[in-house]
């Protein structure tokens, strides 16, 4: 059941009243049933995998929790007879035991993800090697990829790690953990929530709050506007550009970079708006996943504003643990001793950053292009970090210029273009093709034919006007939202609020690229 289908809207229309009409203690049960019903639309066989993740995580979390309480009980019972050293040794032993249990859960669940998502990629790589040595090829199995597997696996594994770190409490009710894993609005494309943020909200009773409900509906509508009016309209041109990349070189590559930047932003943030809006209408508050990423002045800042929950997941559960793990400490010591303090201290940080970005790329998809995409992001961040002293000198030398509004805008545009360039790896899905087409931007000078050429991509002048108008509205709302309380202020002026929402609804219905003749596609992040 796609977010953009009539069935999904019907599903929400039934769910909202049901949710608020049932006794409050049953609300989370309704959500669980709704979530599994939503998931069942993706295929009954997919349910098996989400159940496996839920049950294994439940078992592992309870096991870790049981060991932790056993440790506490043991220490409490033997407080008198154990000295500090013995207590420390006992704790360390127990921690190691819990870590092994955690590892079991992580290996099992990431194993499922790896097998289902990366077998094809690994085997095609292996086949290339076999080809080179003339040993033929292996048949690549067509494995099922359950909807949202990357998102729910990461969310649930985050919960396991938090249980291990005692940052969240163990969920003793498997049905409740099932709801946390399968909460339907965020199944498709996140945000990746933390157990400590979401769980209580899911299980606690919610009374109908008119204002929050209206805000939720407004946010859903706004999400549909971005997705259907802007993203799916651009998709038409993107499909033409990508159908024959070698035909569309030079200036077209620049156009593709610009169009795809807008498309993925409207698509992903639109989907997240729908997700957060649904949760808000149900009385819950999910973490924001975007914070005006295109206003970022640097790549690092961009990644703090784009897909925030994924970034923070990798930071908390990959980068930090990797940076402070024993082998990394040893490497740090060694590199400082052999490469000097300045360079030596960078080695473990750079290694951890590279590994994190490699995994981020791999998370996005099973393909060399995603890995290269991740590593290029890493490279840009590390180079920027290395050049920081230079920037600092520049800022000291030209304080007025570097603090001016124009310079800020320049940096934002620069970051936007750089990120767009790297992001095009995601479009072409082939590293060689992407690099070749990047080169064509310098070698093929076909800007003159662009005005006519752009009208041969499946979009007419009216479509570009709609896209441009949509972008202007999106940018205006983004700027106004930055000043707090846009919807609050609108709530005080119901007539204006209705005019704007009515206009938005009409725009979605009339200008949305949906229905026969259009391919109101899945959200781009569905596939990740």
């Amino acid at each position: 059941m796609r977010f953009t289908s009539y069935e999904f809207l019907g599903f929400l229309v039934l769910l909202f009243p049901l949710y608020y009409l049932v006794p409050k203690k049953w609300q989370w049960g309704v959500l669980l049933a709704a979530s599994y019903l939503f998931y069942a639309f993706a295929g009954w066989d997919c349910i098996l995998f989400i159940l496996l993740t839920t049950l294994s995580s439940y078992g592992v979390a309870c096991w870790i929790g049981w060991r932790a309480s056993a440790e506490e009980t043991y220490l409490a019972c033997h407080r008198e007879e154990m000295d500090k050293e013995r207590r420390k040794a006992y704790k360390a032993k127990e921690k190691k035991r819990r870590f092994h249990i955690l590892l079991l859960g992580l290996v099992f669940n990431f194993g499922i993800l790896a097998v289902l998502k990366y077998t094809g990629f690994a085997m095609s790589g292996f086949n290339q090697i076999l080809n080179v040595i003339g040993q033929g090829t292996l048949e690549i199995p067509d494995l099922l990829l359950p909807m949202g597997i990357s998102f729910y696996t990461f969310q649930t594994m985050g919960y396991l790690i938090d249980v291990y770190r005692a940052k969240t409490k163990v969920e003793r009710n498997p049905a409740r953990l099932a709801l946390f894993t399968a909460f339907f609005p965020q199944l498709v494309q996140g945000p990746i929530s933390r157990h400590s943020d979401l769980a209580e909200q899911l299980y606690m009773p919610h009374s109908f709050d008119r204002k929050e409900f209206i805000f939720g509906l407004q946010r859903i509508l706004w999400g549909y506007f971005k997705k259907l009016v802007i993203a799916d309209r651009i998709l038409i041109a993107m499909k033409t550009l990508l159908a024959d990349p070698e035909e569309y070189r030079g200036g077209y590559v620049v156009m593709l970079i610009l169009l795809y930047s807008v498309e993925i932003y409207a698509d992903f943030t639109g989907g997240i708006d729908i997700t957060i809006g649904i949760a808000q209408a149900l009385g819950m508050k999910l973490r924001e996943n975007f914070n005006r990423p295109f206003s970022s002045h640097s790549t690092k800042e961009y990644w703090n504003r784009w897909h925030i929950t994924m970034g923070s997941w990798f930071t908390d559960y990959v980068f930090y643990p990797l940076s402070v793990c024993k082998p990394m400490m040893k490497l740090s010591k060694w590199s400082r001793a052999h490469l000097g303090n300045s360079l030596g201290k960078r080695v473990p940080v750079y290694l951890a950053t590279t590994v994190t970005w490699f995994l981020t790329g791999l998370w996005h998809g099973a393909g060399a292009n995603f890995i290269v995409w991740g590593l290029l992001n890493c490279l840009v961040i590390l180079v920027s970090q290395e050049l920081e002293p230079l920037y600092a000198r520049f800022r000291r030398r030209f304080p007025n210029l570097s603090s001016s509004n124009g310079y800020g805008k320049f940096m934002a545009v620069r970051t936007f273009l750089l990120m767009g360039l790297i992001r095009s790896l995601d479009c072409y899905r082939n590293v060689g093709t992407t690099f070749r087409l990047w080169g064509s931007m310098l070698t093929v000078w076909n800007w003159g034919e662009l005005p006519k050429g752009m009208l041969r991509l499946g979009l007419g002048v009216a479509d570009y006007v709609i896209i441009l108008g949509g972008c202007l509205i999106m940018a205006s709302v983004s700027v106004m939202s930055a000043k707090r309380g846009l919807r609050e202020r609108l709530y005080q002026h119901p007539v204006l609020s209705w005019v704007l929402c009515g206009g938005l609804l009409i725009a979605v219905l009339l200008l949305g690229a949906y229905g026969i003749g259009y391919d109101a596609s899945q959200f781009i992040y569905d596939q990740f």
């Binding site: 119901p494 009515g502 609804l505 219905l509 009339l510 229905g515 026969i516």
Partner: protein, 344 residues
């Protein structure tokens, strides 16, 4: 602001939004002026009632039967509820709906549509179904006709289907948004052009299976029962044509003959009767043998009218003042359109 005031504003806003959307819907739905085949089904309701014969079927009906000729020559009051590629279940549900408006003595069904057993094309579905007034018949017709890409809600709110036309609106869309003149003459779509058939097509392309689809035959049977229930005689016909696209095979003919014999129905295949009817494929077709033009259709209607009156006892109503007056208007319109089209 108090709750009452908020509710009042919300109700007003919803009303205004609904009005705007309704207007936009009227604007974006196709008006079928340059391609009038989609406008005919909806024209029936202005003339519903008082017909002794109702014709249902695809283009072979609305291009071959001229109710004006049937009236002029025999005083037969008839109407053609045909539409482009009208599938047999669409004919059935149109007929079911027609029986709610009137009780004809005879229903004539053109059998070519029996070759289709599954939904075919969204565009043709729209031409048949959009014109129908909402009823259980329309509901069932939509359910039976939808292709995989279609959605029922798109029929309920055509704006959802045709919204993309907003960027392609023409003056025609504004002109005919609220009211549009009829394009047909009692369901007959007049064509005055002459495009002779240059080469006779001897035989159709070979099919892997010549069995008419079971689902189509089931609907034919349902149509028979429906007519029986409503006291109407079901008559089967096959319009004359001579093209690949509309080829009529011997095997199909046999199946229809067997069915007609079993159910004691009259069946007229006009293909072998072309010479007797007087159809000249050099002058009586507007598209090289695919369909008849008005001259061929008038000839066929004259021939068929005689059969309807002699073999099926369809009465001559010319002596009835009220019916006659109504038909006089239609005859005037028919003649006017013929002259106008001939001039063009």
């Amino acid at each position: 602001m108090n709750l009452k005031k908020r509710i009042l504003i919300a109700v007003c806003a919803i009303l205004v939004i609904t009005l705007i959307l309704s207007f936009l819907q009227l604007l974006v739905v196709p008006k079928y002026r340059s391609n009038p085949e989609g406008a005919m089904i909806g024209e029936y309701y202005d003339q519903a009632g008082g017909h002794d014969v109702i014709f249902v079927g695809d283009c072979e009906v609305y291009e071959s039967i001229v109710p004006a000729t049937l009236w002029e020559e025999y005083g037969i009051s008839s109407y053609v509820r045909g539409s482009a590629q009208q599938l047999v279940w669409q004919s059935y549900y149109l007929l079911e709906e027609t029986f709610r408006y009137e009780k004809p003595r005879a229903v004539v069904f053109n059998v070519l549509a029996l070759k289709y057993g599954t939904p075919q094309s969204e565009a043709f579905n729209r031409m048949t179904l959009d014109g129908m007034k909402w009823s259980t018949s329309k509901w069932k017709a939509i359910q039976a006709s939808m292709t995989e890409e279609e959605h029922f809600l798109d029929y309920v709110f055509p704006l959802l289907r045709f919204h993309s036309r907003i960027t392609q609106l023409t003056a025609e869309d504004f002109q005919y948004a609220f009211d549009a003149p009829a394009v047909s003459q009692s369901g007959y779509l007049m064509q005055t052009n002459i495009v002779p058939m240059t080469e006779a097509e001897e035989e159709g392309r070979t099919l892997s299976d010549y069995t008419l689809p079971e689902s189509a035959m089931n609907y034919l049977e349902q149509m028979r029962l429906l007519c029986e229930k409503n006291g109407a005689e079901l008559i089967l016909m096959k319009a004359p044509t001579n093209s690949w696209a509309y080829w009529w095979y011997e095997e199909w003919e046999e199946q229809i003959c067997t069915y007609a014999e079993e159910k004691n129905l009259s069946y007229y295949n006009f293909i072998p009767l072309c010479e007797e009817i007087g159809i000249d494929w050099n002058t009586d077709t507007y598209d090289a043998g695919v369909h008849l033009n008005v001259y061929g259709a008038e000839k066929l209607s004259r021939y068929f009218g005689a059969l309807l009156q002699s073999a099926h006892h369809i009465p001559d109503r010319r002596s009835e003042a009220e019916t006659s007056a109504r038909w006089q208007e239609r005859m005037d319109a028919y003649r006017k359109q013929k002259i106008q089209l001939e001039k063009e």
